[in-house]
């Protein structure tokens, strides 16, 4: 393994030449625009959605409570998040095996934000040719105006992205007014700037270099490919030998294939590769070259699809198999995990009970001979409404709770800590025993929770 690239003199991390991707229209471009709009719309609008008088999706880190459409999660539910991440990873594997780098081309935040930043750039600086000309031209007031306008829009968009991001962790309806009155908290300001800067740098400058040099997924995605995976393919059999020709000439008679070598597929490529050399690691499967080539084929009155989504099998004239051991395994696993996750969320205890033994004394013997242990119990109500919880003890003969109250009112999403004393007759205790503490909702069929605690007494 070599860590430092040694192609001396050239840099790996800055494009050797700035890539000015040519703009393109076509059906996959339409799909990409639709995907970008829906995903960004979801990201920017979701924090503003209210649910029962509260922000619907709020990961309230300061309070360590996570609200998702009326469901309340605590850090104790962390395994659910892990579960969700496993589902996400497996979905990625599943869809990669079927459709190649669909994620990269349509859904990855890097792709989606880059798309917006490129659109802003195009709006300010013009199309590819105009941009190249502008970059080469000396600094005139016109160039300054266009570059400054672009920067201003980029920064504004990046800053608002930062605000929205922080809005997922700190109520956005308080955040935006606080910004207007300049009364934002220190850390909130810091993270807005941090995230805004990351957006600006990643989408404005790094762009597809992130995919080439920084993305771990890009490096291992090819391990999930097989001959039946959908990839962007150039039909070499049909296209070669490539060459330019007049429009009305019979290419076959001249010994030419369908590729007119217009290099449009290279010009539109955001990673600057030539798809005609076959599948390459840099290809993020954005399908811009398909759109470009189909447009050319149409103008040449050739059939579209010289570059197309195809599997290696179909390129070789064989049948593409969707159901194969790998996809079946991923599919079954994924389905099982999703069902399991649904059950785990639906079945989770809405009331939770934590018991912490008093650390100072093991036990105390009362005047009447009974043994007393002291605990602190934490009652957690994850439900959306308040609960009156009745605390009881069982599993130890004659044990009872000695407390001023036996019922506790716990509001929605509240955690309360109460000290309790459990007393048991001398004859039922011998050394360390187990005792069952329950918190039961006062309503019929209400939620309840049980915890096992240690009850310590003198050894008989």
């Amino acid at each position: 393994m070599s860590v430092a690239p040694r192609d001396a003199g050239t840099s790996l991390y800055v494009a050797r030449q700035k890539i000015h991707a040519r703009e393109i229209a076509g059906r996959y471009e339409r799909l990409r625009v639709i995907a970008a709009f829906s995903l960004l719309g979801l990201f920017y609008l979701l924090p503003w959605v209210q649910w029962r008088g509260q922000q619907a999706v709020l990961f309230d880190l300061p309070a360590r409570k996570f609200h998702i459409f009326g469901l309340l999660f605590f850090p104790q539910d962390f395994f659910l998040l892990t579960w969700l991440l496993v589902i996400a990873a497996l979905s990625l594997f599943f869809f990669t095996t079927l459709g190649g780098r669909l994620w990269c081309g349509y859904a990855c935040p890097q792709t989606v934000w880059t798309k917006v930043f490129v659109a802003i750039e195009r709006w300010c600086e013009g199309n590819r040719a105009q941009r190249i000309k502008l970059d080469r031209s000396p600094w005139t007031s016109r160039k300054l105006l266009r570059k400054a306008g672009k920067q201003l829009l980029w920064i504004a968009f990046a800053a608002y992205t930062g605000v929205t991001f922080v809005g997922y962790f700190s109520a956005i309806r308080d955040l935006v007014p606080a910004m207007a009155t300049a009364s934002l908290g220190g850390w909130e300001t810091f993270w807005i700037v941090f995230y805004g800067f990351a957006t600006y740098g990643n989408a404005g400058y790094l762009r597809e270099q992130v995919c080439k040099y920084m993305c771990p997924y890009a490096r291992f995605q090819s391990a999930m490919f097989d001959r039946n995976t959908l990839i962007i393919s150039y039909d070499a059999q049909r296209g070669e030998p490539r060459g330019s020709r007049a429009r009305n000439v019979d290419a076959r008679a001249q010994g030419l294939g369908d590729c007119i070598d217009c290099t449009l597929c290279v010009q539109v490529c955001p990673t600057g590769i030539d798809i005609r050399q076959g599948l390459q690691l840099e290809c993020i499967a954005c399908a811009a070259c398909i759109d470009a080539c189909d447009g050319v084929m149409q103008r040449m009155r050739y059939a579209p699809g010289l570059i197309r989504y195809a599997t290696q099998s179909s390129m070789e004239g064989k049948r593409t198999r969707i159901a194969r051991p790998r996809t079946i395994l991923y599919g079954v696993l994924l389905l099982a995990l999703i069902i399991g996750f649904g059950i785990a969320v639906a079945q989770r205890d809405l009331v939770e009970l934590d018991v912490i033994r008093d650390r100072n004394t093991l036990f105390r013997q009362l005047d009447d001979g009974r043994i007393e242990n002291v605990y602190t119990i934490r009652l957690i109500n994850k439900d959306t409404g308040p609960h009156t919880l009745r605390v009881g003890v069982s599993g130890l003969q004659g044990a009872a709770i000695d407390s001023e109250r036996s019922e506790y009112q716990v509001g929605a999403g509240e955690i309360i800590s109460v000290p309790i004393r459990i007393r048991a007759p001398r004859h039922s205790v011998a050394g360390s025993m187990e005792v069952k503490i329950t918190a039961r909702s006062a309503e019929d069929d209400g939620p309840q929770s049980v915890a096992i605690a240690r009850f310590v007494g003198p050894v008989r």
């Binding site: 393994m1 070599s2 860590v3 430092a4 690239p5 040694r6 192609d7 001396a8 840099s11 790996l12 991390y13 800055v14 880190l61 300061p62 360590r64 850090p75 962390f78 998040l81 908290g185 850390w187 909130e188 810091f190 993270w191 080439k212 040099y213 920084m214 771990p216 490096r219 590769i273 390459q280 690691l281 840099e282």
Partner: protein, 101 residues
Amino acid sequence: MRAMSTPSDPADGTGRTWCHFREDLGVLLWSSFLAASTATLLFFAYFDPRLLAADDDPPAWLADRMTGYATGFFFFWGMCTIASFLTAYLIDTRPPERNER
């Protein structure tokens, strides 16, 4: 592991010094960022920054949770960067093997 399209190493083996330090710093910071994010997530899922300060005299910077999270994150990031840096440095500066050209 190398990207497919990058040119291969110069065969004379002259590249033994770390000539891409600045570029590699990006990779170091980025990979440690990923590791640190995961570490922060896991760590603070189990430990409440306020409980960590359940001491007689909690330091002021641990008093509120946001500061605790941020401090934790930058601590992890720093540590991961050190580890990445040392890894890269040691791999890059190890003496050439005898039979290597």
